[in-house]
């Protein structure tokens, strides 16, 4: 398999991961805006996280910011898969930012709120995967 082909596969997987994250973050944003409370299915720790002051930044749901970040990651991955070199740098920058924010949010859940939300953990797993793909891509120029 040629070098560019392998790169295209890597970035396509990154795009798919971003797409899953985009769907989840969009869903959570909408539920946050409508005030849906059944989203946690009765899980007190889930509500504790999603209903905390950390779930919003300047009145904007963190999930909404996550959706924007995932959409950016998806766009850059797609362009990178089609050979746009600058998109790779932008994807690396976006993934690094998302990784840093995820570490902060995991810290908040573990040591400040002492509660975890399954949606946040799923998102963290996606971002770790995304960062891993960007970092370990062995065929980078």
């Amino acid at each position: 398999m040629s070098k560019s082909r392998i790169q295209a596969v890597f970035y396509s997987v990154a795009a798919l991961i971003s797409l899953a994250g985009l769907a989840e973050a969009t869903y959570l944003t909408v539920l946050n805006l409508t005030g849906e409370t059944a989203v946690c299915g009765g899980s007190a720790s889930c509500f504790q996280v999603l209903g905390s002051a950390y779930a919003k930044i300047f009145g904007i749901p963190v999930a909404g910011l996550g959706a924007v970040a995932y959409f950016s990651a998806f766009s850059f991955s797609t362009f990178a898969a089609f050979g746009y070199v600058r998109a790779r740098t932008l994807l690396a920058l976006t993934a690094s930012g998302m990784f840093a924010v995820t570490l902060w949010l995991l810290y908040v859940q573990a040591f400040v709120l002492h509660a975890f939300c399954r949606y946040c953990l799923f998102s963290a797993a996606l971002i770790f995967l995304l960062t891993g793909i960007v970092v370990i891509n062995p065929q980078r120029d």
Binding site: L19, L22, T26, Y27, T29, V30, L31, L33, T34, G35, E36, T37, A38, C40, G41, G42, S43, A44, F47, Q48, G51, A67, F71, F74, S75, T78, F79, A81, F82, Y84
Partner: protein, 222 residues
């Protein structure tokens, strides 16, 4: 064509995301609920609902709640505090709306009604919310609820009989029917003088501000 492909894919995903989000928002958006003047302050069987405060209070806070819903639990103490701070100008009404997604919500509502049969509805209401995190995770809640009844000094045998009776279940069902008739979908749904409080204002500070506003209007209209 290949040059344009990423642009087309990204645009398509953007459109699908916005379209999906809009559709979901419309489906989940709470309607601007209001309670009509003919809304009864009694259950179908003619019994009065659970009311705290003066019947002549100018402001009425009516909650449709679910004992297993964490946001309802989070608002329970602040609402009690409001009633305490504003008496006799605020009255609080509680109605049941146990969600099907909460495994023990119906049993908790029935337990509160059974406690109400012995004049301890509000005490059980407060206890259920305070202990929510514990009984929500239990597999068999009936033993726990019996112990709560004991804690409140209720006649346990009567409490057990009442939880098993149709009367308590009918009271819960009557509230649920009213909630359905009003188009309520989420808990807590709170009405202030028959007007639904927006979900974004379901927090202690906003509720207090809304009560203040209604009291101000009431005093200026006199």
């Amino acid at each position: 064509m290949k040059r344009h492909a990423p642009f087309i894919i990204v645009a398509l995903v953007a459109l699908l995301t916005v379209g999906g989000a809009t559709t979901l928002y419309r489906a989940k958006r709470p309607a601007a609920l209001t309670i009509g003047k003919d809304h009864p302050a009694k259950t179908e069987s003619g019994e009065s609902t659970h009311v705290l405060g003066s019947p002549n209070a100018p402001v009425t806070l009516e909650e449709f709640g679910d004992f297993q819903c964490p946001p309802c639990g989070a608002l329970s103490s602040p609402i009690n505090q409001l009633e305490h701070d504003y008496q006799p100008r605020l009255r609080v009404i509680f109605r049941h709306f146990p969600l099907a997604t909460h495994a023990h919500a119906q049993a908790a509502a029935v337990a509160a009604e059974a406690a109400g049969m012995q004049g301890r509805f509000w005490q059980m209401h407060d206890l259920l919310y305070r202990e929510q995190a514990i009984w929500s995770k239990a597999t068999d809640v009936s033993e726990l609820f019996n112990s709560y009844a004991g804690l409140l000094g209720l006649n346990i045998n009567q409490f057990k009989k009442d939880t098993a009776s149709d009367k308590t279940k009918e009271r819960v069902e009557s509230d649920r029917k009213q909630a359905a008739a009003l188009g309520i979908q989420n808990t807590p749904t709170i009405f202030l003088n028959n007007r639904a409080v927006p979900p974004s204002d379901l927090n202690p500070a906003s509720l207090r501000a809304a009560v203040d506003e209604l009291l101000k209007k009431d005093s200026s209209s006199k």
